[in-house]
């Protein structure tokens, strides 16, 4: 068990270290682009920072956290040692190498292409190699998750895979499908261009391949939060999971509907027809379903907990929930942010409304709220919940944990709500400095300052988060062993193979991807877009 704990902690510390670093950069960026920092920082500094911030948050924090949490679930939910832990450590170090290469190229100014690195802007090749190594490390993780589940099923024929592991493997399977797009873009287009092997690049193709990854990746980030909703929160609240079956269905729905929807990031792009965009918009409406189903199931699970604690009446159970426990508090705060962020997502999906908000601060607000808000707050809650298990020590007091969560929630709301408003006014994104002398832009200034204040609160919360974990390592309170995973009201005895494995769903994903992305990609193979010249950021 020792090795597994070290493995998990190693991944988590890399993730949270990158997270803290990125928060500092984020606060600086907000200062520079506000009226308060109008003459500070050059575009070179700013875009270098945005690249580092994006790469750290979107690729490092997430991938390493998910890998670490996955190893944790594989060991604790299945109650057996991790198969191939040497491979796990090998993958970890490969990922570290990738992060170092990427950060060095960014820091040297040779990779200011932002985390989306849209060609023809092309960075130094080590930046891309760094990203490839991180993705490759995650592929090793996927393989280990599949092997672990398979080995358990062989030893436990006919029994349902514990929900936490089922969901983790669903995420791994989805990630394997997700990375195909960006891997193809990097290996066949961007890296050859970066190396100077080709001087031009098919931008229609690269943008389409990246969109394949760009939406599904956010569900890769989100599923661990939902794993916490379904398998950790009901236990933490003292209740039961309302429906195990619904949990399985939710993760399956994410697997099939996260992938064939990437084109909704290209709704304003010229290179695809209305019809192909519409198909993916229709499928996008369906990816809202698992979240809506989850809200019901988890609320019901919380209701069970509340009523067990004496709650009466229609809403009385809400007050009796143990809000003092960080996991329970986090769920409540996450759900509020999910409401706002999800609503924004529906707006983005409707292309008529998307035309009002595309590439404005609304988009920045949306993904900071939904990912930085609902998802990351659950990452905090998960860390607080499992750290005692990993370190053998318990929190001396839960008050700093709750304070940190409240600060994160408050900061996120204060930062992103003004951004939504500014986006509707037309404030556009990825800008290092605004001309506050222009009357239209001057009116935005006060709101930009408000959201900067939100950013400062977030930075404070981030520092407090890391501090809470560090002090836990040195805590004098020993951890008491207690059950972690929730029981369902009706724990399943047998489930159909469809809810216990992914054979059927992989076939459906393949068919969906062929129908949704087949022609959009094939059109560039049949008739390549006129190629654009590679612009090297050296």
């Amino acid at each position: 068990m020792r090795n597994a704990e070290r493995l998990c902690l190693a991944h988590f510390w890399v993730a949270f270290g990158a997270f803290l670093f990125a928060c500092v950069l984020g606060a600086w960026q907000m200062w520079v682009r506000s009226p308060l920092g109008a003459k500070i920082g050059t575009p070179g500094d700013y875009f270098m920072s945005v690249t580092a911030h994006g790469v750290s948050m979107a690729y490092v924090l997430t991938t390493f956290f998910i890998m670490g949490f996955g190893y944790f679930v594989a060991v604790t939910a299945l109650n057996r040692p991790l198969p191939g832990w040497i491979w796990a450590w090998g993958a970890f170090w490969m990922g570290i190498l990738g992060v170092v290469l990427a950060l060095i190229s960014i820091g040297s100014g040779h990779a200011s292409v932002l985390f989306t690195f849209y060609p023809p802007l092309t960075a130094n090749v080590w930046f891309y190699i760094g990203l490839v190594l991180v993705v490759a490390a995650s592929w090793v993780w996927c393989a280990l998750m599949l092997v672990a589940m398979h080995a358990w099923k062989v030893d436990n024929p006919g029994r349902p895979v514990p929900l936490a592991m089922f969901a983790t493997v669903a995420n791994a399977v989805m990630w394997l499908w997700t990375t195909v797009g960006v891997a193809a873009e990097l290996l066949f287009q961007v890296i050859p261009a970066s190396l100077g092997l080709v001087q031009t690049i098919d931008v229609g193709m690269s943008r389409t391949l990246f969109s394949w990854t760009l939406h599904a990746i956010v569900y890769f980030w989100l599923i661990p939060a939902y794993i916490a909703f379904y398998t950790l929160a009901p236990r933490a609240a003292g209740g039961r999971l309302y429906s195990d079956t619904m949990g399985r269905l939710t993760f399956i729905l994410f697997l099939i509907y996260s992938l064939p929807v990437g084109m909704h990031h290209l709704l304003m792009d010229p290179e695809h027809g209305n019809g192909t965009k519409f198909i993916q918009v229709l499928l996008t409406a369906f990816v809202a379903a698992p979240t809506l189903l989850t809200i019901f199931t988890i609320t019901a699970s919380m209701e069970i907990a509340g009523r067990l604690r004496g709650g009466r009446g229609v809403f009385g159970w809400i007050a009796t929930l143990p809000w003092k426990r960080p996991m329970v508090l986090a769920i409540g705060l996450a759900f509020v942010m999910l409401g706002f962020g999800g609503f924004g997502g529906i707006i983005n999906m409707a292309y008529g409304m998307n035309a009002m908000v595309h590439n404005t601060s609304w988009v920045t607000a949306h993904f900071h709220l939904i990912f930085g808000g609902s998802v990351v707050i659950m990452y905090f809650a998960i860390a607080y919940e499992i750290w005692p298990r990993l370190t053998g020590r318990d929190h001396a007091s839960l008050a700093p944990l709750r304070l940190q969560l409240w600060l994160w929630f408050t900061g996120m709301m204060v930062m992103t709500l003004p951004w939504h408003w500014l986006g509707l006014q037309g404030q556009w994104r990825r800008v290092s400095n605004f001309n506050y002398a222009d009357p239209i832009i001057a009116a935005w200034g006060p709101w930009v300052v408000v959201s900067f204040v939100g950013g400062i609160i977030l930075l404070t919360s981030a520092i407090l988060f890391v501090w809470n974990l560090v002090t836990l390592h040195r805590s004098e309170v020993s951890a008491i062993a207690k059950p972690l995973y929730a029981l369902a009201v009706h724990p399943p005895r047998r489930v159909p193979a469809a809810l216990n494995g992914f054979g059927l769903w992989n076939v459906l994903v393949l068919v969906l991807m062929l129908l949704a992305y087949g022609f959009p990609i094939a059109q560039f193979v049949i008739e390549p877009s006129p190629a654009a010249i590679v612009h090297r950021v050296r």
């Binding site: 031009t200 027809g273 019809g275 192909t276 198909i279 005895r493 068919v511």
Partner: protein, 278 residues
Amino acid sequence: MTEQRPQQSDPHVLDQPWRIWSTIAVMGIVLVGILLGVIVIPVVQGRSAGIDAFTAICRALGILPGSPAVPQFTDRTPPTPVSQVVWTPDVLQILARADVAKGKAKVQEVCIACHGENGVSVATEYPHLAGQSGAAIYKQLHDYRTGSRVNPQMTDIAKALDEAVTADVAAYYAGQPQRNLNPVTLAVSPPAIVQLVELGDPRRNIPPCASCHRAGAGGPIEAPVLAEQRDEYLIQQLKLYASGQRRNDVYGRMRLIASRLTDEEIKGLAAYYRAGFR
């Protein structure tokens, strides 16, 4: 002999309805999407705009340009004659594979008289070429050759060089080391000039000079390196752009920017770059 009937909890029995219904549901959803998006919506939209169904569907798929709901504008503007450089993959490959030795030989034969052996020019009216961007030199020679840029001496010289030699010469100068850059000798630049270089001027809609002219900024590939260029030459060229006499900048960006700079700013920028700031 008793018949073996499948048990209710037999996985295969549990499974079948899942397989069937989930496939029906998912395929149904996608097929509805295809039907609506590729057929119904474009055809109905096309009718209101007088576009036939087949064209509307092709536009919805992206096989034909345009929207299924609006008649497509067809351009009938006559093409303009080729007068400027085209960065085709062939040209870019020629530049990437140029022969520096041949370039050096040509330089010593022709260019050295004005531009100096090490690319450090002999008089103020000739620009330094050492460490200049290869694409920039190639473009200017090409433009001299075709007449997009006019200079009494350079026009004839450029006409005598063919494309391959032009690329070789460009590659030779590009490979010359950047001139000495001793930070101690760099003059202090007025803040207004530094701001123009780093942040541009939003009020006049001028982007920062550095966004194109700093090496590795990822701007236009033909943007020349300005660091340590002769300030008299820079002032002269900016004035030629401002008056429109020099017009080989693609889409008139330099003409527009230069026409909005004051004389003092032009002098200040020239001094800034001459001092070696990058």
